[in-house]
């Protein structure tokens, strides 16, 4: 139990430090064009990674084909400029429907 409290405290401190160090030290520092282009691309790389990791899980243990049609629905609806919440709700309904049928 004590180790759990300690783990939470240490993780909180690490997390705060990670987010504080750049803004506290760099201030108005301007990055080089190369660094800036990488920073601009980082969100896209991160999103691609997060979606994939979330879908597959450790050792692909969370892989579930019913999520793919739901995500495809979300992507298509978003490309057609549907509001984000509507996209999500329809995608969730597609996946839930497929799970109910299988």
């Amino acid at each position: 139990m004590t180790s759990m409290y300690l783990a939470v405290a240490v993780l909180a401190i690490i997390n705060i430090a990670f987010k504080a160090v750049g803004p506290a030290i760099l201030g108005d520092h301007e990055f080089s064009p190369g660094t800036q282009s990488v920073l601009n691309a980082l969100p896209v790389a991160l999103l691609g990674g997060l979606i994939t990791v979330d879908l597959l899980g450790p050792k692909w243990g969370d892989a579930d084909w019913t999520m793919l049609p739901g995500l495809a629905t979300i992507a298509i609806m978003r490309l057609r400029h549907a509001p984000d919440l509507v996209c999500i709700l329809v995608g969730v309904a597609v996946t839930a429907g497929l799970r109910a049928l299988t």
Partner: protein, 224 residues
């Protein structure tokens, strides 16, 4: 860069709007996290406290998962690796934040994945108000969802049958579609990150796979 008051108000409104959508996703994921932690032996109170002070789904899931299967060292390393990405992300916002070192460090705490992505402008700057507003909406949703999950402990079967596990990747996908639509040259980066993460999480801890996927952003160096 000093923003005009009207621009700042627009930023807050935009942040609250995008934050509301993201909060729905955070809330659903937090319910599953709360239930997940309690079923892995974590006290409900500590689980809620963790969401309050850490506020990072990926790191929290990593900590609970790894602590269940090993010691505290690997668990903390795994969670820290998961969040290492916040160092460059927060650094990239530095020029858009306000005040001295302490205040910028405090405002830097507003950097969470979806808020940061939605607040990045095409010119590389960050919409400070949008970033902070989007995060301020998600934080209570994350804590409240964790509390419900930890105290009520809905079955993972219910979450899955209702399709609620699609909410978070779904929101990430919406943000990804928006990003690559705005800048199509980043499509190869997204594809590479997806491939690297897919291959990586088959053989490596998911935190490491995520970090490796982030390296795909370096592809832009070759073309810049």
């Amino acid at each position: 860069m000093a923003n005009q008051p009207s621009t700042r108000a627009t930023g807050w409104r935009a942040g609250l709007k995008v934050g509301a959508g993201l909060a729905a996703g955070s809330f659903a994921l937090a319910i599953s996290f709360g239930a997940y932690a309690v079923t892995h032996g974590w006290p409900a109170g500590l689980t809620i406290l963790m969401s309050l002070v850490v506020f990072s789904g990926s790191a929290q899931f990593a900590l609970v998962t790894t602590l269940a299967g090993g010691g505290m060292g690997p668990a903390l390393a795994s969670a820290a690796l998961m969040n290492l990405r916040f160092v460059p992300m927060a650094a990239a916002t530095a020029g858009s934040l306000r005040g001295g070192r302490l205040r910028r460090a405090l405002e830097g705490q507003g950097v969470v994945d979806a808020s940061w992505v939605s607040a990045r402008r095409a010119d590389g700057t960050t919409d400070r108000e949008k970033l902070l507003a989007a995060t301020l909406v998600q934080w209570p949703a994350w804590v409240a969802g964790t509390a419900i999950g930890a105290l009520a402990v809905p079955s993972t079967g219910f979450i899955e049958s209702a399709g609620l596990d699609l909410v978070f990747p779904g929101f990430f996908l919406v943000l990804l579609v928006d990003s690559v639509t705005e800048s199509t040259r980043l499509i190869p980066v997204a594809l590479a990150a997806t491939a690297v993460a897919g291959l990586g999480c088959r053989f490596l801890p998911t935190g490491v796979a995520l970090l490796l996927a982030s390296v795909s952003a370096l592809m832009t160096l070759r073309r810049s």
